[in-house]
Symmetry: C2
Subunit: 288 residues, 2 copies
């Protein structure tokens, strides 16, 4: 496995691959890899094919964190990430420092952003105002640096995947996007690098996100009519906040295609939620 | 010469070239080609090399015109443009209709833009608020569709070239940008498709943009000290508005590297101006 830290070095490699013709698959991550990431790598490996190349990027992108969010304390463990990637058959690990991604000399202050205006408004975008501008910008940069044929994103960040797909379509980016299913712990908690923040008590209560989804699924399956979204939301919020460490940020029901909120919930509607467990903000989502 | 109108068709061709390895040079235009454009094509031809491919795109991009600007009446003559391109040895003419560039079905309304915040604020950006957002977005799209190794822009749109170069640097777009010098009529008027709007009287007076630049150059050359920008601007505005059809939009003096306005004008400072001749808005610029 090769480790590349400079944009120029990565771009040189990417251009060489482009001439030669192997399929290149990218898994963009912020590191602190868990089994969820590794399922993306596995899928990337399969999609790239026997002669393909799999690149994992690890970059905790400051531009997608708001003030007061967890950028500084976001967990990092490059040594362990390297081991995981090596074991997973990753060909190149791209780990750029900030000065490579956002060079900032006097005449060249970074000033160009990719913004998506429609799908990134609600949900995470409402709670984290500049978040998706940071995401779309860094993903566009990674695509230009690594020149992948395809990229794999996780379904836990449902809205992120939708925004990235919209960006790719609108800007005609020649990268195929694949979205891989959520990987969960045995008790149902969706894997996340942020789970590392949880105290043992918070960890036990964190399963409530998944339980709230299952409760909604059960109610939708049992109902022969539409359920008013506002009523279902109220029930779920009460259910979640029975856990003493839990504070709901949002529970939303929406059309999975355009992310528009729905007033009536039925089978096929997408549900997403964000819940604080103590200071740790977790998200989850599912089709109902 | 091949004419391609679909994004998919152009992207297929671009990917094939990418495998094969010829250098691809792009000249993005809004059509109604004149000798200025053809000088860009010639440069693109030389830079692409003997086995290279030259693509000219013709697209009057609605996103870069403001309300009340000349989008609807912008001059178009595809038959003549084709002849010019064929004669200039262009390999592919990419002429997409609007529905290819900005598809707009219910769940896929166009919503992603590339925005540059620093260099695009002043000058044209101040007079035409959403202009550069439209330019950077469509150029990013054209780069992703045509996958050129290099692209050639004209120096008449000095700020546009600076903004594009900033975008390419910030987003790590793997395209080399070349800026080609302004081509002028015998009397000094910079070539522009918009010159076609001018009445004979306006056409005669339009030479005043170039004359104002020359006046500034003479004053700078003659002065042994810095010239206050505000005084020089005042003199030039008076000089220009002696022409009855002329109304100055702006005359600016700035650092060519970061486009920051300067208070003192000296050799090496960039000057740019925008002047209405009747209803037609013309621009020009030069290093002093």
């Amino acid at each position: 496995m090769r480790i590349v830290t400079s944009v120029r070095g990565m771009q040189r490699l990417a251009r060489r691959w482009r001439r030669g013709g192997p399929r290149v698959a990218l898994v963009p991550t912020m590191g602190y890899l868990h089994a969820g990431h590794l399922s993306l790598v596995k899928l990337a490996r399969r999609k790239a094919g026997r002669n393909g190349r799999v690149v994992v990027s690890i970059y905790v992108n400051p531009a997608q964190f708001g003030p007061g969010e967890d950028f500084a304390r976001y967990p990092r463990d490059l040594a362990r990430d390297k081991k995981h990637c090596r074991a997973a058959g990753v060909d190149v690990l791209f780990v750029p420092p900030d000065r490579e991604m956002y060079p900032d000399s006097q005449n060249e202050a970074f000033s160009t952003f990719v913004v998506e205006h429609r799908l990134s408004r609600g949900l995470e975008g409402a709670s984290r105002p500049a978040h998706f501008k940071g995401v779309t910008t860094v993903v566009a940069k990674l695509f230009n640096i690594i020149l992948p044929d395809l990229a794999v994103f996780g379904a836990k960040d449902f809205q992120q995947a939708a925004v990235i797909q919209q960006m790719v379509r609108d800007l005609n980016i020649p990268v195929k996007i694949t979205v891989a299913p959520i990987v969960r712990e045995a008790d149902g908690l969706a894997l996340s690098s942020r789970n590392a923040y949880l105290s043992p008590a918070e960890r036990r209560q964190a399963v409530v996100l998944r339980q709230a989804i299952q409760l909604a699924q059960k109610k939708v399956a049992a109902s022969r009519r539409f359920l008013p979204a506002s009523r279902l939301r109220g029930e779920l919020i009460r259910f979640i906040q029975r856990q003493p460490a839990a504070r709901v940020d949002y529970v939303e029901f929406f059309d999975p295609k355009n992310l528009e909120p729905v007033r009536q919930v039925a089978r096929g509607v997408q549900m997403a939620l964000a819940v604080f467990l103590g200071k740790t903000r977790l998200i989850d989502n599912a089709r109902l």
